[in-house]
Subunit: 397 residues, 4 copies
């Protein structure tokens, strides 16, 4: 029996975009997904060129996502796209997702899920109502050893979690890059397109989600220091947060895009009663476990390693010592999503695909940090913000 | 204009094989190559299942490579495969390549090029006669920072090369794995299928080729210590070599598959008059440069880094700090090969694709090491072996 | 001319103590200091045994520090101790220092300077009045590359400092060790002997002092999260702090003694406009400099390296590649202090010996963190606390 | 009871020397040894100044080692030196040692033991005849984790040793430094003062001794490539060796002083049937153990670690995470030697002090490498050389 590929449409990702290419490589890597159509750019010419360079039939390069959803929905079931990958700037995540869901298409969205918490609540309701699948490409959660860490903590290997450090230093916005022709810098520092948070929304949510995913816990309270360091910048570019988690762990988080010379230095350390785990995104195939009175144990990624959990091993394509990286982590999310769309959820039993729950949590984190940093209160309760947002949502209906 | 994908056929890589999957992911990653047919296994059922799982039309799953070449050659020019990827055990590399060339198909072959030096000489002649392109997937030469090292040395940044250390420790054959159902172990320790060298041929040639590629020089003389450490093993599993290069550098090389606990630890250090470069395959995104009286400089992979050479940057898909790995290195070779087949050689101006020249050199290295280790002479001259092999070839004609 | 050794007395450091031995090794290493007397323990027998094992004349093993100061002051000038090393639990630092100063002896004190801020103000005044020298063994400030970092920042090599991360994870108090016969654990968790802070005072002050020393700046405001995680513990064992510095940098600090499995993991990262410096105490001979668009530069310790500043080179005893460590860093402080006592201040022109100014700053930091964590205010102003303490001091007189 | 310090004399180590200072710091560190006299330099003025700067009585600064031995032997037993530290260039090691032994003084000698194998045989006999103790400061054998590795292998933790890689790259002689006023470079490249080997004798013997010490085995055969790379150099500056050990392990060794930019990069990897150990001198507080199918285990130095062997723990002065280094490793040898002189051999039960056996072995290694490199034979038998040397020695008597 021929296993048909899952058919994907894409919104965003035209020439000049960065993340669209990454999504396409990730979707392509395992040969389970086929890109069949796209609304790559509002610029029709760019859209057409992008489609051509990707080998798409010209008639499936659409002028707008609305047009795409309508046209694709009208195609035969075994031809039309099955899910859409949303790779636009943040402000379009919600409208595109809502339109896709309305037409019955599953959604794989770049993060953050939405521009803010209220939107996330709206999206959550729409997903539930639609019966469609929704995935969020929190890339770093696709790394094998992040899943290993999650499983080890769930299995109690370091005991109750006590303290977390998570940092995400970058340096690419050290200077005032916006307005100089850098598209990335332009929209990411524009509140209208990026949302409430700058560095906070872009990478701070990677850090908070990593902490939540690995611990299987939620951040409940934050106390924050948020700044725009570069003169004239309209969104924060540097943030530090003290936080508390529901199950009692405390932590600190830093996300900065003005750490000159830093590349993409996301890392996390989680200390529990019995040991401490540490993982660095730039050396992603190692997970370090320190235990009292024992040699330091470094877990390596490797498809053949029986000491890894099933979720971690399934996220490896190669034997140990053959480094996999960022694209493979991304591809793991796509492969998981393809399995879901195909109706095979086995892969997810052990490693949940990031979805709207995590996305909403990230938006609540952003909102709480912004609120806390702007006011006098020491600790801001995230749960209260979420409850209020849900209540607002109900009122709006 | 739609850029059509280059059409690939494959020989080998049926269920149970390892490297076939890697080749397919590598070919797929950049969306420039499409797998259209295959003779994946001598076992027709395996071949059929493999083709189906890959979404191939059943009629393009062939019972043999001979049948495939005949049938594909008869297809319209815009349908038939354009090149074949050879991913079989070593003993089939030559016959498959010769058959492909005969039918006018370009060849992308897993390494080593052939079983031995005589075969390599034969293949070299056949390639030249065919006018077809031939590439050899010496994976590690696809890494951006390997290309950076090559360019830096060519530019004289460390001066004349004086000393090289290159090692390739693995541990997977520490115990007698062959005969226990492990296909890899079976054929790799079988002289009929693997060739003259065991560890020497499998990974020793990766080490020697890495040294030759980075320095742009050739190994001229070897003095070797070759052993089968595991009792009953029919090919070497552990080798160490002192070597000299044509331009005066001396070096030592170690390749071992009985270094229990080692994963895939290929690394190299090259010292010149003015500095020393070091690269480790398991941390492939770093290249270390030590110079007298200066801080240690660590070059990082990253598409945006202007301090990298063009060849290195072109081999990066992501900004720095987003790790790429083994599959991406492999994919770089496929992307380069697709460019060649397409007639666009720009990519190769700066980083030559490994081909038959390097492949022949590796076979000569293997033959010289085996000869040296078996006899009393201290240094064995590789050039003399090659000359003799070419002469034998001419005589045979 | 024979260069006489500087004569040292010691208070504390009897059998069973840890830090006394370290001080003695540090004082001994360079052959410039001679231990001539001590009041090593309130337990006379312990004191006597300690003195004997150190080869001291029995008559110079004193029952109390008071007795020692009186007796030594009565000895001929070329025989009596010249300075006292205070290596007792924290609560004795002030009384011993005051007594020493009163008798005209210079003081080299283990950190923290005192139990709290008020005491530090008292000590500061006493030092000023005495005309004696006072040094504080903030060990980590004796490392060559910490001094290098300080000098590089002072020279503007990374531009204005923007963000600091400093962490000090330890795991030795992960379990309730106090009361089990561990002397260290007993006094360090006892408010009467340790002071206001537990982990905060013991290692948090190392972290804050490191940040202040390297930047040449002062922490002005703190926002803190302070806890005793282990049930029944009487002092904090885990603290995280957001902070601001006088010249505009922001930072986060973590100090924890319940990070199970961690050893002595002090590290710091300082980002400025033009680059980021990073240093790890457990790999002390490396200082990492990241700059936009440049290879990562790792500075190595080494007496011969002209790329290091004078202060850094003077703190090296060996050529590069010959690791120096904790004891040598400690010894650098003693060697500097010996130079001061001898009247030769050259060594200090480039690297100031930690003294009461830094000690008072650390006590203010502790007091501010405790106050902030206990109350509702978001940011606590350290300067205000110091001003108040000085005013209290004046009132008391 | 006062524990008296062991009294040490020194030959060599005047102003301008490097290693003398290291020996003095090492001897001083633990407070168990006192320098009481010296013949620091043939230059009487230098000798006098050195003695003064060290606080020695002028009458115990001797013009020659011969004079020193005679004069000290005439002093009362509780005053005179008990052992001599020899820190001269290599050609004086034998005559000074013989003179010391003749006067009944124990000897602690810098390595190599002698200029060549014949001298080593002579010295071995003299030591045996004298009844005195003899230690050789093979510094690197004083590191805690080198001793740990030795113990682990002796305990069978990695099974029978199969393959060894040991390298010692340095760069300080990359350029022709001799003749430019650098004392070190002058004598180390002068056959008359350095002996048969340049890099081979200076650092190659560190590498071979490390391999022998850790495995508890002896190198039996060598096959070598020896060169002087820098034009005009009179001794080798670059060597690579294939070797075999008595118990069946094979290995490769590299020692080079022309690896431009390298500092002091000694490292070793030992693979056995069950695992692989790796240690790097520049990160001496870590010992890496790789085992099939297990996380990589990194052993850390630390006085409190019960997972370390007794010999390793005794070689630590500080708790884990407080780095010790080169001087401490050196000091461990001195502390061990002091224990021997004192008659307390407990420390040595678990970690033998390097002595003449290892020293003779190193000289045999040098001689075999030089012989092999100069001739046509593939493998040179070290045992045969030693036997011949002993026979020559007997004949001479």
């Amino acid at each position: 029996m021929i296993r048909a590929r899952i058919r994907m449409g894409m919104v965003g990702g035209g020439e000049g975009a960065f993340i669209g290419d990454i999504h396409r490589m990730a979707a392509r890597l395992d040969g389970q997904i086929e890109l069949v159509c796209g609304a790559f750019s509002r610029d029709a010419e760019n859209c057409r060129r992008t489609a051509a360079s990707l080998g798409l039939a010209p008639e499936r390069a659409y002028e707008s996502y609305e047009a795409m959803f309508v046209a694709e929905a009208a195609l035969p079931a075994d031809v039309r796209m099955q899910f859409v990958a949303i790779v636009t700037p943040n402000h379009l995540h919600l409208p595109v997702a809502l339109a896709a869901l309305k037409h019955g298409f599953h959604v794989m969205s770049d993060k953050p899920a939405t521009l803010n918490l209220a939107e996330a609540v709206t999206l959550e309701a729409a997903i539930k109502a639609s019966g469609c699948h929704y995935g969020l490409t929190h890339t770093y959660l696709g790394y094998p050893l992040v899943r290993q860490a999650r499983d080890m903590i769930a299995a109690g290997e370091i005991g109750a979690v006590r303290r977390i450090s998570v940092e995400y230093p970058q340096g690419w916005l050290s200077a005032p890059l916006e307005g100089s022709g850098n598209k990335q810098a332009d929209w990411r520092t524009d509140p209208a397109r990026a949302g409430l948070g700058g560095a906070l929304g872009d990478i701070g949510t990677h850090a908070s989600s990593l902490a939540e995913y690995i611990t299987g816990d939620r951040i409940s309270h934050v106390c924050a220091d948020l700044r725009a360091v570069v003169p004239g910048r309209r969104l924060d570019d540097d943030v530090a947060v003290l936080f508390q988690m529901e199950q009692g762990a405390h932590g600190s988080l830093m996300a900065s895009q003005i750490s000159a010379g830093e590349e993409n230095g996301l890392w996390i350390r989680i200390s529990g009663e019995k040991g401490t785990l540490e993982w660095h995104q730039m050396a992603p195939n190692e997970l370090i476990l320190r235990r009292p009175g024992a040699p330091v144990a470094t877990y390596h990624a490797g498809a053949e390693f029986e000491y890894l959990t099933l979720a971690a091993r399934r996220a490896c394509r190669t034997p140990s010592g053959h480094p996999e990286g960022y694209i493979e982590a991304f591809a793991n999310l796509y492969r998981d999503f393809a399995s879901i769309v195909r109706g095979d959820k086995r892969a997810l039993d052990d490693a949940p695909l990031p979805g709207i729950e995590l996305g909403l949590s990230a938006m609540a984190f952003v909102e709480a940090v912004v609120k806390n940093a702007a006011g006098d209160e020491k600790w801001t309760d995230i749960g209260a913000l979420v409850t209020a947002a849900r209540r607002g949502q109900e009122t709006d209906r």
